[in-house]
Subunit: 262 residues, 2 copies
């Protein structure tokens, strides 16, 4: 079997947000998408049209005449899918933040991870040049091939082990999912009071952009940071109709106050 | 006493971040800063040099020959300071997010609020044109004069009552102070594992910018949103050395899961 010296053709398993955004990025980098398999037929049609590729009816039928098979499937399907495919000489990589590399079948010769550390939504463009791509490979050559490929999409490519990636994923959940939940709480409270959530947008964005220039510790301001008991108790009172948010308010406030004394 | 028809000269009480950023914005809009009082002598020197204004030795000695006296002092000093000054014909306004307008002395004829809904850090420039300015006045004419002034700095000027402003301030604390605390938790966990916090910056910024296009509810993704128990329990396990963060993780996760069923 001829060794791969450069990844030139790619097939996808999965056609959701991660697959679509990655395929876009590959297309923009003049890479060829060969084939896609996904059980979601309406997605598949969209995918094949957008990326000018073929689709196939089952994972087993994926052509092995490619350099990379990229699994963009739910975490709990990675092992099963990897056991069903016949990769031939292709590298098989998953794109999960939390699954270890060895969740891929050990019958496959070259396995790896290609994890884009970003949040993807339908219809929202992402500038891939700044998206960190976290790479892992079961062999040094696999890691190198995936790294070369990653640099075609992004300027930020890092070799990250499975345990490190899991920690990155945990912190990604905190700064993305959890911050977004705080936005959601604010949205709900403002709506209840007929106030416009858009008023908060410049603040939300400035909070994020401050991180370019200072650490979160330096950027921490507000009543908890000052231990301003008067304001904290007024806020608590305003949250009396939202007991769960009140509990969360207190917990985060306590942790900010505690940090002052460390 | 001649009525004010347009605010043309301004004095500041306070010389911290809010005062400095507002003074910059006024200066950029070709407004004259007349005078400043602050007990922090080193700040004052800096302020007078930057804004080409005079300083005075006590609140009582502030010249009353201005149109607006802007109090940029800690919340718990607003009442006392407003009782000490002799405003003459000047409007006296505070810049607090949470203090009601009537915390200003009722002996002053025209009082108001000029609250910029933004986070200010030393040495970091802010684009004031997009900062919402929340205005309140004890008379219709006061509100109008402050509104006119606000439009010289920003395109986003809103009349907001004291109770509404307190709610905005609560939600500002959530999206700014609390999101920043989540960034801080992520920073701490990554540092402990010798991983680079900068890897999260594109994600942090994308999370904030998504709010331009979709609601927080639409943008919510992640293991809690999918009720992915496997990932959640792995994350909890990773946080076993951070019991307080583990508690916070669970609380926010529970609230995201709960929201799915509403």
């Amino acid at each position: 079997m001829k060794e791969i010296t450069e990844i030139q053709s790619i097939s996808f398993v999965g056609s959701g947000n991660v697959a679509t955004h990655l395929a876009h990025a590959f297309q923009s980098a003049n890479m060829r998408i060969h084939e896609v398999y996904s059980p979601h037929l309406s997605h598949v049609l969209d995918f094949t049209r957008k990326f000018n590729c073929v689709s196939c009816k089952s994972v087993q039928q994926l052509s092995s005449d490619v350099d990379l098979m990229l699994l963009c499937v739910p975490d709990n399907q990675i092992t099963e899918v990897s056991e069903s495919i016949s990769p031939g000489r292709a590298i098989v990589a998953h794109t999960s933040g939390i699954e270890p590399q060895d969740s891929l079948s050990d019958k496959i010769r070259q396995t790896g991870v290609f994890y884009p550390l970003q949040t993807f939504s339908k219809n929202r463009k992402v500038d891939f040049r700044v998206v960190p791509l976290c790479i892992e490979g079961n062999q040094a050559s696999t890691c190198e091939l995936l790294t070369q490929l990653a640099y075609k999409l992004s300027n930020k490519v890092v070799a990250i082990s499975s345990p490190e990636r899991a920690i990155l994923h945990l912190t990604a959940v905190m700064v993305n999912n959890f911050s977004n939940k705080l936005y959601g709480m604010a949205h709900e409270i403002l709506e209840r009071n007929h106030l416009d959530f858009n008023l908060l947008l410049p603040l939300i964005q400035e909070t994020a952009h401050k991180m370019e220039e200072m650490s979160p510790e330096e950027a921490q301001t507000g009543p908890a940071r000052r231990n301003d008991e008067n304001t904290i108790s007024r806020h608590r009172e305003m949250l009396k109709d939202f007991p769960q948010y009140q509990q969360l308010y207190q917990l985060i406030t306590d942790q900010i106050i505690k940090k002052r004394h460390e």
